[in-house]
């Protein structure tokens, strides 16, 4: 249930009562078809990203139709067939697609009941449905499948009189994921595994650095590689096509060796990234203001003599998606019509981008989703699809599969933006916060294809007639925000001011990475709150409870603390351990999560244990939620303790798993998750909610272990030592 990241400019207020998915796709037959053979086809515009969403949606549909979930076939998203639900992002799939399916299926069920009632002349209320079989009290039976040809679903869901099934058979149970059997057996399931007849293997030579321009290419050696079919060049976009995959790779290397490039250095100094972010041209937006913000003489409340100001700076580097599979795409042109297979987060959005970039009529382009490896935001899936489109255009009639290299995946995919956060809190002698200020500097967190501020596909910026790069932007805070996501504290502080400074220049392409700005914003806020607690000698959990008014936030905090044994002292024979806590409501409108972390700080920072409590509203699939919470938390451990994209003045240099290490089995702590079920509350996405609180809990645990606050992520030995030096 990590419906990954977020809708962008067309995003929706998650608290809005209207369901955008249904509003944009009102017709029943867009969503559901009954088959005479006893299957129910369910179409969602949301896609499987490894988060298990299709299983959850099948559960919701099955309950509302009163059928066994095994009958439900989830159809992969396909343009012009599936509902257009924009991106699978923002942890909104269960809310949006699930909510729509609930209404649609209730309406479908009602239509069938009414049809049977009319035919048999019995009240619809007397009919019962048992796994799709409709039963009358007198023993007569019919079924969805029998009537599939007769009950028309070519009408809007909005029709009055849908009676919800009101029974939960599947929802609330840990139904095993539908895709797991194929994946443990090694069956063909991923886009990378597809081998349509006539497939050619395509590979792209990416420029050696960000600003590079291809001057000359000698492709004789590449063309001489047995199996190579063609070399494709368009400006600085260069690729090779081959009958065999290993030929494509050899062709790629031969081609690379034959290139000369013009390579200006365009990247800032990685070792002084914070100075770059704070100094670069940016657009400043006041995201939130609460109460007068004066600090005299023009303000209305000059600081009192007993008020002191706490200031702290927090930074994070650029982060890579670092999915285990490099991005891939397949495309095939036939008579000017184009078909694309992609692991993009939005098939309609990708189509919009292709149509816009190539000037094609939309009806000539079909885009279908096929699963890829784990997707944690806007990765290179759309770019790889576009690469395939460009290469395939030169070989009409033949499908072309492009798979990125590991180096390109880590260096050319959109990155999670580097960020700086400064928090300033005025505190009086009693430890009360009198004023709170939060400033965040960052590149934008959104460049998704298809939107108004979309960044062009990577290859479109490299062709001879290139599209200009578009600096990424932030979605508005009411849609969850980007840099400012979770920058507004969930605490009752007076006189708050939260600003974002979004860079208008973009040396490294950035876009949405799981939780967006929430990772560093929650880290920062929870760090300062911890310092405030320490300063007045309060227990960090008690101190937070004194400031939290939302009962659901309080409950997750108490639940995590209790489960972690917070009230008993931490065993720490060697004096190297610490325990810390972090809590947040994701996006301030989503799921609640509190984390207690234990760390051990010796030669490096090791997370020894995580205890997490979460409230995601009604839980559709408990094990699915736990899986998402664990996964988010472990990814946050990895980002927070280890990860940093490295670069020089020309290019990202962390291009393999040795230069960009991620958490390994021996470093993974035990994770204990407590789920607070709220059957009476709407379901909220779980995939991103544990990121910020986990990072914060680790930082606070490290503070407890070493007595020093480390504001620079990752919490590497280098950054920890620097913080210790600075404090001594």
């Amino acid at each position: 249930m990590r419906p990954a990241l977020r809708r962008t400019s067309d995003g929706d207020d998650v608290t809005a009562p209207g369901n955008p998915s249904l509003g944009n796709n009102p017709r029943l037959d867009r969503w559901v078809s009954m088959c005479a053979d006893g299957r129910v086809l369910v179409r969602s515009g949301k896609v499987e990203l490894g988060q298990g969403v299709l299983t959850v949606l099948a559960q919701i549909a099955a309950d509302e139709l009163e059928v066994d979930p095994a009958r439900v076939v989830m159809v992969p998203a396909l343009t012009d067939a599936s509902p257009d639900e924009s991106y699978t992002a923002g942890s909104l799939s269960v809310q949006h697609s699930g909510g729509a399916l609930r209404q649609v299926c209730a309406r479908v069920r009602t239509l069938f009941l009414d049809a049977v009632a009319a035919r048999w002349d019995v009240p619809a209320d007397d009919l019962r449905i048992d796994d799709g079989t409709i039963c009358a009290p007198d023993g007569r039976r019919s079924s969805y499948w029998e009537l599939s040809g007769e009950v028309a679903l070519d009408q809007d869901a909005a029709g009055a009189g849908a009676r919800p099934a009101g029974v939960r058979r599947s929802v609330g149970r840990s139904l095993p994921r539908l895709d797991v059997p194929d994946k443990v057996a090694g069956r063909r399931r991923f886009l990378h595994d597809l081998r349509p007849p006539g497939l050619l293997f395509g590979r792209v030579v990416r420029p050696p650095s960000r600003g590079a321009r291809l001057l000359t290419v000698d492709d004789a050696r590449a063309r001489a590689v047995p199996g190579v079919v063609a070399v494709v060049r368009d400006g600085s976009f260069l690729g090779v096509l081959a009958e065999r995959e290993e030929s494509a790779l050899r062709g790629l290397e031969a081609l690379r060796a034959g290139c000369t490039w013009d390579q200006p250095g365009t990247l800032p100094d990685e070792l002084d990234l914070a100075a770059f972010l704070v100094g670069a041209p940016a657009q400043t937006v006041v995201l939130h203001e609460d109460g007068p913000d004066g600090d005299g003489p023009d303000g209305d409340e000059p600081p009192a003599a007993d008020v002191r100001t706490i200031r702290a700076r927090f930074t994070r580097p650029f982060l890579a998606h670092a999915s285990i599979a490099p991005s891939a795409g397949i495309a095939q042109w036939d008579d000017g019509r184009l078909r694309v297979w992609t692991h993009s987060q939005g098939v309609y959005n990708l189509r919009t981008e292709i149509v816009r970039s190539l000037g094609l009529p939309p009806e000539d382009v079909v885009v279908q989703h096929v699963e890829g490896a784990g997707c944690y935001g806007h990765n290179a899936a759309d770019d790889a699809a576009y690469d395939a489109v460009l290469l395939a255009r030169t070989v009409p009639g033949r499908p072309v599969q492009v798979v990125w290299t590991r180096a390109d995946e880590l260096s050319w995919g959109p990155l999670g933006p580097a960020m700086v956060v400064e928090v300033e809190a005025d505190v009086d002698a009693s430890g009360q916060v009198r004023r709170w200020r939060h400033d965040v500097w960052s590149n934008g967190h959104s460049a998704r294809p298809g939107g108004p501020s979309a960044s062009p596909p990577l290859a479109a910026m490299h062709v001879a007639d290139p599209a200009a790069p578009v600096p990424s932007t932030d979605p508005p805070l009411k849609n969850g925000g980007g840099s400012g996501r979770n920058a507004v504290p969930g605490y009752a502080f007076p006189r708050q001011r939260v600003r974002s400074h979004v860079l208008t220049t973009m040396p490294l392409r950035t876009s949405a990475l799981r939780a967006l700005g929430a990772h560093l914003n929650v880290y920062a806020i929870e760090s300062v709150v911890d310092e405030l607690a320490l300063a007045c000698g309060a227990d960090p959990v008690e101190y937070r409870l004194g400031l939290l008014t939302d009962p659901r936030a309080r409950e997750v905090l108490v639940a995590a603390a209790e489960r972690a044994g917070w009230s008993s002292p931490l065993e720490d024979p060697a004096g190297t351990r610490g325990r810390g806590v972090g809590v947040a409501r994701y996006k301030n409108t989503g799921a609640y999560c509190a984390v207690v972390a234990e760390v051990e700080a010796e030669s490096s920072v090791r997370v020894a244990r995580l205890t997490i409590a979460t409230d995601v509203g009604l839980v559709v699939n408990p094990d699915g939620v736990v899986n998402q919470i664990e996964g988010g938390a472990l990814q946050a451990v990895s980002w927070t303790t280890k990860e940093r994209v490295r670069f020089d003045t020309h290019q990202v240099t962390s291009q393999d798993w040795e230069q960009y290490p991620i958490l390994t089995f021996s470093e993974v702590p035990p994770v204990d998750v407590v789920l607070l079920d709220r059957p009476d509350q709407p379901s909220l996405g779980a995939g991103e909610t544990s990121i910020g609180p986990t990072a914060a809990a680790i930082g606070n645990a490290l503070r407890a272990a070493i007595g020093v606050r480390v504001g620079s992520l990752p919490l590497s030995a280098e950054n920890v030592v620097a913080a210790m030096d600075a404090s001594s």
Binding site: A185, V228, A322, S323, I324, G374, V403, G632, Q635
Partner: protein
């Protein structure tokens, strides 16, 4: 544009069956498996021997098929995730991975199962720390690690068969 690939067949012994694969002998085993034999369980992750997604067993040892040329394994016993089960029944690990729902995206899964199968063969009583050590070369970005460890521990002969979905 170019000549057809060299037509010297390489004999590969995969999952108990002999195959003659016509390809350049330097072809990575991964591509011969996926593209010539249609066995797509082993995955491309890095091509550099650093992630384990492509792991297969060569004479029982976990091996990166991405950087192993076919000439080096000619005549050796190769087992992929598709060949781990016996008599039409899945390998015990394939069952425990389902029971523990030990994955998210599942792209790392076949490499994990193959590596763990060799581990259990070698060390049927392995403990949790041993499982973690053995899997340290297999990366998972989704954070399914603890579930994977649980699935491997449950597949030990000593664990019995009484496990359930979490």
């Amino acid at each position: 544009m170019s000549a057809a690939p060299a037509a010297e067949p390489v004999r590969l012994h995969v999952n108990g069956v002999e195959h003659d694969v016509v390809c350049d002998p330097d072809t990575p085993l991964l591509y011969a498996l996926r593209n010539d034999l249609g066995l797509v369980g082993a995955k491309f992750g890095c091509g550099l021997g650093l992630c384990g997604a492509c792991n297969v067993l060569v004479d029982g040892h976990p091996t990166h098929s991405c950087d192993t040329p076919v000439w080096a394994v000619a005549g050796k016993r190769i087992t992929t995730v598709e060949g781990l089960g016996q008599d039409g029944r899945p390998h015990r690990l394939q069952e425990t991975f389902v029971e523990a729902q030990a994955l998210q995206c599942g792209y790392c899964t076949s490499g994990m199962i193959v590596t763990a199968a060799a581990l259990l063969e070698r060390e049927p009583e392995v403990d949790e720390a041993g499982v973690r050590r053995a899997l340290d070369g297999n990366l998972c970005r989704c954070g399914a690690h603890n579930r994977i460890v649980r699935a491997v521990l449950c597949a030990r002969p000593c664990a019995g068969r009484a496990t359930g979905t979490t």
